[in-house]
Amino acid sequence: MTTTTETAGGIQVVKPTVASHTRDYFARIRGGDLGTLPAVLGLLVLVLIFGTARSETFLSALNFANLFNQSAQIVFIAMGLVFVLLLGEIDLSAGFASGVCGAVMAILLTTHGLPWYVAIPAAMVTGVVIGLVLGVLVAKLGIPSFVVTLAAFLGFQGVLLTLLEGGKNISITDEFVKALNNGTLSVRDSWLFAIVGVGGFAAAQLLRWRGRVSRNLIAEPLGIVAARIAGVALLAFSATYVLTLERAVNKAITSLKGTPIVVPIIVVFLVIWTFVLARTTYGRHVYAVGGNAEAARRAGIPVDRIRISVFVICSFMASIGGILVVSRQSSVDPNTGGSNILLYSVGAAVIGGTSLFGGKGKVIYAVIGGAVIIVIENGMTLLGLNSGVKFIFTGLVLLAAASVDALARRRAAATGS
């Protein structure tokens, strides 16, 4: 009836078919193993709400494009935080670290008149150095990361104030930097990017599939792989279609179309870090230390070094977040990276499905969670409520989005897995 197949060292297993695979998928869903599904559902619900309430504006091409620029800082900080959270640590200073790095860039550009290709790397290096210091304090001195990064949160706020000489703000004029989080690709490049991206994804998926089949290991049925590729292609191409529509407010004055430049930047980092976490030894060790640090230590993994490295990655990603927010605001001020940026970023990672206790999370979670947060922000401001009510609503909507997730996952607990 069922076809079994011998694989890996002779353990016999059932060879999955598209039907059995689909059946298993739904059994898993019913069993509560949901991945990003709930966060995606939450996102859909939000889009539905705001789309109904403010259909002409929220669903406009212009607003869609804006979402990417608006989310850049949070998404980058959240992607970095995923690494720190994977170890069960926290980085409260990531927000202000992004501000400090942004300020370093702005000062080099404006005050010192250096070109962008000096200023941007300098900001990134600043991020790396910050991460190194935090990581060493946590890993080598053993101070809880909450305390270290709380101290850094205060310290960086001071550094930012000092860099900005007590409260000035520094504007930047460099067109390259400003384009990063304001500019768009040409329509041709937008399509090119979509096609190359989807092509790359398809190639990676198919190669992996072929690799397993040729080694006689259990592989997903080809149909499932194809469906997944088709899904990604559909998403990418329809997004590109919308983004290449004319969206200028005043078409007489200017034309505005094409994928925001920040989109490929996000995608590149998403791909790199996903690869690092899923396909390299380093990534494996990050999960291991987060899952059971003692087991990792016994397996000979250099736990301290891993611990330091995640802080480096986090602050590095924060530096890019800082560069992008300075680009968007064309300026840096003592509050860049302050306010709710940090809480929102951690929230993004957690809503996406990253555990605060370590061992569970993916970089894509940060992107999806970031999307949830930004859609709420964006939609709420379109509603034009007054401050008090807006805060309350934002809280409620966030809660609603999270409950979709929680209720979906609750089945998991009930069935005991």
Binding site: R54, E56, T57, S60, L62, N63, N66, N69, Q70, Q73, L161, G166, G167, N169, I170, S171, A248, V249, N250, A252, I253, T254, V325, R328, Q329, S330, S331, V332, D333, P334, N335, T336, S339, N340, I341, E377, N378, T381, L382, G384, L385, N386, S387, G388, V389, K390, F391
Partner: protein, 347 residues
């Protein structure tokens, strides 16, 4: 208690559709001062409503990211005029540029965006505010016949450009006195976020480290009140003059009680009306005639057409002006505790 007052209502899209396009207004925060949520919001809403112009008025809650996001949303929803109170010149400038490329007219409200190039500017003179504070303190100290008084500074948020301007103003009055040895300069500290609780602790420490403080230049009424509470604990209230700003109910009551020396009243209704008038004209694509003055943008050196209003110094003697102006009502000000003082002040 929740506002059934104008300020507390939801849905701020006012007015019916008219020939005029929609106007967007972005206010900065609610923390630095009560004015944004209680006064500016109210008066602007009323002014637009009266003119039948649709307006979308939002507050960025001190968050620059949100400030930009709100601007994006307003531009996307097709406003014809954008009125902003920047959180800082940098973000302000980015927003103004974006609006300009979208063909939207712009007005700087209360705070000038340096290098921003808005079409118009409506404000009080912030350095002038500081000068009034400085002068008010000098008057109170003179009245108390203080000799060589130690004056401490409780400045506003280091991240607020207005705070810098206020300080320039009061420094211009007080520094000569310090230099001349008439006054002694005491502790000088900023209060992050204009946070009143923190302001209280900072002042308590100032007093602990310098017991002779005889005058407090507090940058606004909230901080002034924080200082007054510490003084009260030490039974020094009324003996050590404290300044303020914004003519809040709390500040005026402190003045009536004799604990606060003065506050600065900015007739926000006038400011709001002026801004609304300008915006409405622009939304109707008319050329406004009210902006008769000009201000030179110190960064771009460009001249910005402006409406500049003058702030007024308020002491116990003229508290009633604020009530007469309708900025605060007699009911909110003259509660049981202050009824007597009100009568004395002629309210």
């Amino acid at each position: 208690a929740c506002g059934t007052d104008d300020g507390g209502d939801t849905g701020t899209d006012t007015g019916t559709k008219s020939s005029a396009g929609k106007v967007g207004v972005i206010l900065p925060d609610t923390k630095s001062s009560a004015r944004w949520a209680t006064a500016d919001f109210k008066y602007l809403t009323e002014a637009f409503k009266a003119a039948g112009v649709e307006a979308d008025i939002q507050n960025a809650e001190g968050d620059k990211t949100r400030f930009t996001t709100i601007a994006d949303g307003m531009i996307a929803s097709g406003v014809k005029v954008l009125v902003i109170v920047n959180l800082d010149s940098g973000t302000g400038k980015a927003v103004l540029e974006k609006a300009k490329t979208a063909g939207i007219a712009t007005i700087d409200y209360d705070r000038l965006t340096l290098g921003g190039g808005a079409n118009y500017y409506v404000s009080f003179d912030n350095t002038e505010v500081g000068k009034l504070q400085g002068q008010g303190l000098v008057d109170c100290l003179t009245e108390k016949k203080a000799t060589k008084p130690v004056v401490s500074y409780l400045n506003g948020s280091p991240t607020d450009n207005n705070a810098t301007l206020f300080k320039q103003g009061y420094d211009s009055v007080l520094k000569p006195k310090f230099d001349a040895g008439e006054y002694v300069k005491g502790p000088d500290q900023d209060v992050p976020d204009w946070d009143n609780a923190q302001g209280g602790t900072i002042f308590e420490q100032q007093l602990t480290s310098n017991k002779n403080i005889a005058g407090v230049l507090a940058a606004n009424d909230g901080l002034g009140n924080a200082a007054i509470q510490v003084l009260k604990k030490n039974k020094l209230n009324g003996k050590v003059p404290v300044t303020g700003q914004d003519a809040t109910v709390q500040g005026l009551q402190n003045i009536l009680a004799g604990d606060q020396c003065m506050t600065v009243y900015k007739a926000i209704k006038k400011e709001a009306d002026a801004a609304a008038e300008l915006a409405i004209a622009l939304a109707k694509q008319e050329t406004p005639s009210t902006a008769t003055k000009t201000v030179v943008d110190p960064e771009s050196k460009a001249e910005v057409k402006s409406v500049l209003l003058t702030p007024q110094s308020i002491t116990a003697a003229n508290v009633k002006d604020v009530v007469t102006d309708g900025f605060v009502t007699k009911e909110e000000l003259c509660t049981a505790d202050f009824a007597e003082a009100c009568t004395k002040a002629g309210i």
